[in-house]
């Protein structure tokens, strides 16, 4: 067993855990923070992404002992008090979370991106999220939600396009006439 003080979502927590346990296991099993999910425990799906000192990290590939003293951020720390982070609000409103299992990892990866790049292009968002698998959404709602959150964080007015929520118009547009 090993004892360490981990700083998770700004709160110092001293925990004892088997030395070979990953950050993922310690978050979920010792710290009572099961918001971070696992899909493979082999670093293949991105579902367990958390931030360590602001960098996205696959928590299934990091030993908890390695990150002692570093700032660990999980999905549980994303909202401020009762207010959802714009990423969370946009994911919820656009249906970028369906089953929601990949969502915590994608939110954290997106958060790291937006911290570095306030106005990412769609290709930059794709590059940042290409390591996170989602089986439900087909990814487009996720890309749009990240763009929406980026706009809101920049203080811009943003609302989803009608075709995002209702589909495209089946009536011929004027351009077709």
């Amino acid at each position: 067993m090993r004892t360490a003080t981990l700083r998770v979502n700004g709160e110092p927590r001293t925990v004892a855990f088997p030395a070979h346990h990953t950050l993922l296991e310690v978050l979920r099993e010792e710290l009572g923070l099961p918001g971070t999910k696992h899909g493979c425990e082999l670093g293949e799906c991105g579902t367990c992404t958390v931030l360590v000192d602001g960098r996205p990290v696959l928590s299934c590939l990091v030993l908890a002992a390695e990150v002692e003293g570093q700032a660990i951020a999980t999905v549980e720390g994303l909202a401020s008090g009762g207010d959802l982070h714009p990423l969370q609000a946009c994911f919820a409103d656009l249906g970028a979370a369906q089953c929601g299992y990949c969502t915590p990892g994608i939110l954290m990866a997106a958060r790291a991106l937006l911290a570095e790049n306030a106005a990412p292009t769609r290709d930059e968002i794709r590059a940042a999220l290409a390591g996170n698998l989602c089986r439900c959404t087909g990814y487009w709602k996720i890309l749009e939600a990240v763009e929406g959150a980026a706009a809101l964080l920049r203080g811009e007015a943003w609302r989803p396009r009608p075709e995002t929520l209702f589909g495209a118009s089946v009536e011929p547009s004027e351009a077709d006439e």
């Binding site: 918001g35 971070t36 919820a92 656009l94 369906q98 996170n132 698998l133 007015a157 009608p162 209702f166």
Partner: protein, 860 residues
Amino acid sequence: MQPASGGAPAVTGAGDGGAGGWIGRPFRRVDGHAKVTGETRFADDLALPRQAFLKLVRSTVPHGRIRSIDTARAAALPGVLGFLTGRDLPTPFGILPVSQDEHALALEVVRHVGDPVAAVAATSEDAAQAAALAVEVDYEPLPTIATVEEAIATPEPQLHPYADRGNLHKVLSMEFGDVEAGFAAAERIFEDLFFYDGNTHLPLEQHATVAAPEDGGRLTVWSSTQTPHYLHRALTKVLGLPAARIRVVASPNGGGFGGKSDPFGHEIVCAAMALRLGRPVKISLTREEVFACHRGRHPVAMRLRTGVRSDGTLTAQTLQTALDGGAYGSYGVASTYYTGALQTVTYRLPSYRFESVRAFTNKPACGPKRGHGTPQPRFAWEVQLDKIAVELGLDPAELRRRNLEQPGAVTANWLKLGTVGLGRCIDAVVRGSDFQRRWGRLPPGRGLGLACGSYLCGAGLPIYWNHMPQSGVTLHADRGGGVAVFCGAAEIGQGSDSVLAAVVADLLGLELADLRLCVADTAFTPVDLGSYSSRVTLMMGHAAREAAERLRSRIAEAVAQQLGVPAERLTFAERRVFDAADLARGLGWEEAVIATEARFGTLSSSGSYTPPRSPGRYRGAGVGPSPTYSYSAAVVEVEVDRETGVWQPLHVWIAHDIGRAINPALVMGQVEGSVYMGLGEAMMEESAFRRLPRSRSRALVHKFPSLLEYKSPTCAEMPPVTTYLIEEPDPAGPFGAKEVGQGPLLPIPPACANAIFDAVGVRVDQVPIHPHLVLKGLEAAAKGQPARVGPTRFPEVDFGFTLKVPTPWQGGDGKASNDAEFERATGRRAERGTMAEREQALRAGSVEALTTKLEGTRGD
């Protein structure tokens, strides 16, 4: 949309359902907040005090007899609490009553690598894992079967003695109308061979189960299951406990897609171990174990023969399918019928012959994956239609329009259709993609492909025969103004909770936050059969509507009396019950509830739904009927690299006949998710197996049991999607709604194949369409050979006696005309269990007869 604090601004919706305004609005899903904050508790997120951990020892050989299981070394390890083996749980189970062929732990024989053999519980997951590795199992190897052809050639030893013939689980042949005359009337006959490889659901959440023993010999099981009711039945059977002692709760599923629809051995073992140890037990599968559970898409070989007149009118079709079923029955009998059943619902087929075989092989069992048995024949059908259009010089869209099935029609195989929005779907994608102008005229290497599809809105029959509703909803209104909503439906990400809440809130004129949902809990909620066959929105929606309308009329009665207003003039909206003719005259919702409770007592209501009878009465008619069918059409644009064969979808246009979108945002998500999954199957997803070298037993092992090696599309591969929701309310659906979870997948793989043909002139008649196959076609074309790549032979199999069923237009009555000969030839019943038999059993008060005797006739 609910306002999101600090989030996306609300979008004005087209809320024109009930007075509550929820139907048709893209509101934030009711579980949305929990899912983005990490608060949703999936099964593996549950942790109970004194919880022990379970690990399974799984077979390392693909087929073998267990000589011995030695737990001595494992038992000596620290933390080990106990073991279970097959002998502890000898009762077989399985999702279908006709194929109860699984054991929670192998009894004597293992049938695929990964088959559960023994179980060990320990105080920690690490200890359980160490103990599982220390269990020594000795196997006597048995011959293995890898393919349908090998199953045909290897009738002995049988994997299961109940198979129709040797290792052929199911063999069937049926003819609707006079196919020979149909082909004689044809001017052209097209015959093609196709192959659609198997693939798997790959939900991000690995299956997990927690079981806790309780006082009075009772037990609660939380599990990542799409079908808590069927799991409840399997647990009751294998554990030998009264159903009332077992409570099953389906945790929110982290993706299902059909992969969590079977009761699984690990769920039963977890429950048994909890009872054995007298403490909670949890099991969480590894990704490799999820691959071993499988129940994914069947690999299917197909021979499709279609007769047409030169104007494109269809005259006859014969479809033969051969399914590689894997080691167990699972849903396989239904899957087998489904590879033929929905071939008739898109275009009018005057005569149709369907023959099929499902083989047992030594691989994880196949089962239902999104589209259950229908994407494979749909691929064949839509690619062949493309070939027919090209050969006859017709526009592919026009060929389909000419043969469209009619609303309300009864098909050759006796399926009763509802509304048919397919024509409008085709129009939408043709216009959106500028198909008419661009098809056949894009620059080399670029192409467009069109395809369509259709799917059930709920299987018409339950998995076991019974006379009861297939979905139920109970409401309880409390005097504080809240409404508790109870329903057995399982939330698997598709949004069933949100549909349930929307229907109730809409009819009662409430906010979503006024409702508390209790779902998928066999002790507290009325039964809903589960999240499969795209049944939930339609069936649960009807049940919720009935429950809410009953509650509303009771409240209206009390309020009408108190206000002196006729009850029929009362409107429920904005948390008030008021006079439509005098808006100021009314009661707040809480006051209305209080007035009603004072008058009638505790206020609750229930609603339920049973699908209408289907007209088919022949053996096999149980698979295919549905209250109505959804339709989809898609155009895919691709770019193909002629040097490498690598192809990419550049854009997808898809139109889906949703009937009525209860929450358009959720519908959009289901359409896009289906498109994505269809592209994954078309491009790369396959459950590949390989044989180990002879020196290592020639064992069949999964080639890619990992998320990295089983390729699935990432956001980098996903092209833009333009989605059209075609709304043509169907009276068969609640508020006119149809399904959306599965149908939009169907047109995607054939549209990709058709687009590749348009781009480079290569026909790849198999899925996935790997680049090397495209390249092979290009190389053949360069040598002047036919640019067609795909299977060149179909398994040689005797499909046996053909059941002949006259069509509606031949004056048929839904029954076969050669029942007596069929029974003489096969020794099996020709007619499926009739309503009259069910009535009789009911009158006799025989629950046993209802659930056991008649269940054997279902779809079989």
